[in-house]
Structure formats: structure tokens, C-alpha cells
């Protein structure tokens, strides 16, 4: 007899890539595929992809200092009509806790505010409904959750 999951249990997709920036696109395309099953608009799908790419890039660049040959895991939990959660995990150097980061205001008249970096995670914080970072037993996981509209 086959065990069936509970009706409201999330569907789970597990992905793993090598820590090369050029491989981030593999995760991006897979997540876009899942997003296409949801009620998200095209703009929201684009933004969801952006968030996932930013967090995977962040893991590669900071946890592994941009070095290939390490594992980045991505878990996608889809609960129809409720939520889409993506968890990006690495096994490198954990992030220093800084609390929520916000996009810094930009002054069109002050070039000092036109920074060339540091926007990745603030964009994610802006676009996702919930985010959470945890580091435990050598595994660092960034959770991001997007609530889905019910029909």
C-alpha cells in the first residue's frame, strides 16, 4: 500500500548545484517552472526568480568566497493556494547576523548613494513576505516565503 501525503502537505522539490555562478541559472529555471504552477503573476514570477538568484549567488560568493566545487542545496516547498517557500543552503562560512537589511535610499543628486553592490539581500527582504536565516551544525539556510493568493 502506498503512503499518501496529507492533503495540505507541501510538495517538495530538492535541487543541488555546484557552487559556480554560471550554474545558478539551473536553479532559476527550475524555480520558474514551479512558479508557473502557482497563481503568481508574470511580474511576481520574475521577482521570485530574482530573489532566488540573489540568495544562491550570495551563498556562492560569501559562504564559499566564489570558489566552485562546493554544494548549494535548494529546497522548494509548494503548498497550493497557500505558499511557496525556497530554502537555499550552503555548508561554508555563515553570514554574520545583521538583522533585516533594507534597500538604502538613493539620492539622484548624490553619487555617493549610487553604490555598485550590496543590493542583493535588501531586494529579497523587500520582495518576499517572510525571510529567515539559520545556521546549525555546519549548514546555513536562508528561507524565503511568498504567500499565494487563494482562489
Amino acid at each position: 500500500m502506498t503512503d499518501l501525503p496529507a492533503a495540505n502537505a507541501p510538495q517538495h522539490l530538492k535541487l543541488s548545484i555546484n557552487s559556480y555562478l554560471k550554474d545558478t541559472v539551473l536553479v532559476a529555471m527550475a524555480v520558474r517552472g514551479v512558479c508557473a504552477m502557482t497563481s503568481l503573476s508574470q511580474t511576481d514570477i520574475n521577482r521570485f526568480e530574482l530573489c532566488v538568484v540573489e540568495v544562491v549567488n550570495n551563498a556562492i560568493e560569501h559562504a564559499y568566497c566564489g570558489e566552485g566545487g562546493h554544494q548549494v542545496e535548494v529546497d522548494v516547498f509548494y503548498t497550493p493556494d497557500r505558499s511557496l517557500e525556497v530554502v537555499v543552503s550552503d555548508f561554508g562560512t555563515p553570514m554574520v547576523p545583521q538583522g533585516k537589511t533594507e534597500l538604502q535610499p538613493l539620492d539622484p543628486l548624490n553619487p555617493d548613494t549610487w553604490t555598485a553592490s550590496g543590493r542583493g539581500l535588501p531586494i529579497v527582504e523587500r520582495l518576499m513576505d517572510k525571510t529567515r536565516y539559520q545556521s546549525s551544525n555546519g549548514r546555513n539556510s536562508f528561507h524565503m516565503i511568498r504567500t499565494l493568493a487563494q482562489p
Partner: protein, 109 residues
């Protein structure tokens, strides 16, 4: 090579031949643009029509190019697709850059 450039109407039009200007391409793109600036090509139009995805690294590279000019030239953006335009909107960078609907519009501005 993922980039090309041509002279038109006194400006340098830079084409990006990749659909994604992301962290894997942002450094080569920035270096390519810095080389153009070093060769005296300071009025730049970046044709984004082929790019359907850009992340903060790609955006950062364009900002770095703008700052490299140090006020002696211009960077105009042309034909961004929806997701790319949205990134500029989300980060308020649409207040810094002139964004045109097409390359010809940028050249005639």
C-alpha cells in the same frame, strides 16, 4: 564574446548577446565597458534588448560603469525587457539612468 560595440550618431552602442546579465557575466561586462572608456568612448548606449534577466550584480556593473565616467560622458540604457526594467524601478535606479524604449530613441535624445 558576449558583447559587441559599434559607433553610431557619435555614440558607442554596446550590445549584450546573452539573455542573462547576472553575477557570472557582470565582471566581464564591467571590464569590457571599462576598456571602452579607457579608449575614449565615453558616450555609451547599452542595448539591453537581448537581456531578459538581470540581477543586482549586473545592475552593479552598470552603476560601476557610470561612476567610472566620473561625469565625463554618459550612459544611456535602451530597450530593457520587463523584468530588467522592473529591477531598475525596484532599486530606484530608474531615477539615475536615462532609459529609452529603443536604441534609435537613445541615439536621437
Amino acid at each position: 564574446m558576449a558583447f559587441n560595440n559599434r559607433q553610431e550618431a557619435g555614440k558607442t552602442v554596446v550590445g549584450i548577446e546573452d539573455a542573462r546579465l547576472d553575477a557570472s557575466l557582470s565582471v566581464p561586462f564591467r571590464d569590457y565597458m571599462f576598456d571602452l572608456i579607457a579608449n575614449g568612448q565615453n558616450d555609451l548606449v547599452i542595448d539591453l534588448s537581448m537581456v531578459d534577466f538581470m540581477d543586482s550584480s549586473g545592475l552593479g556593473a552598470i552603476v560601476a560603469v557610470f561612476k567610472q565616467l566620473n561625469g565625463e560622458g554618459s550612459v544611456q540604457l535602451a530597450a530593457p525587457q520587463k523584468a530588467v526594467h522592473d529591477l531598475f524601478y525596484l532599486t530606484c535606479m530608474d531615477q539615475i539612468f536615462k532609459i529609452h524604449g529603443s536604441v534609435s530613441e537613445a541615439l536621437s535624445s
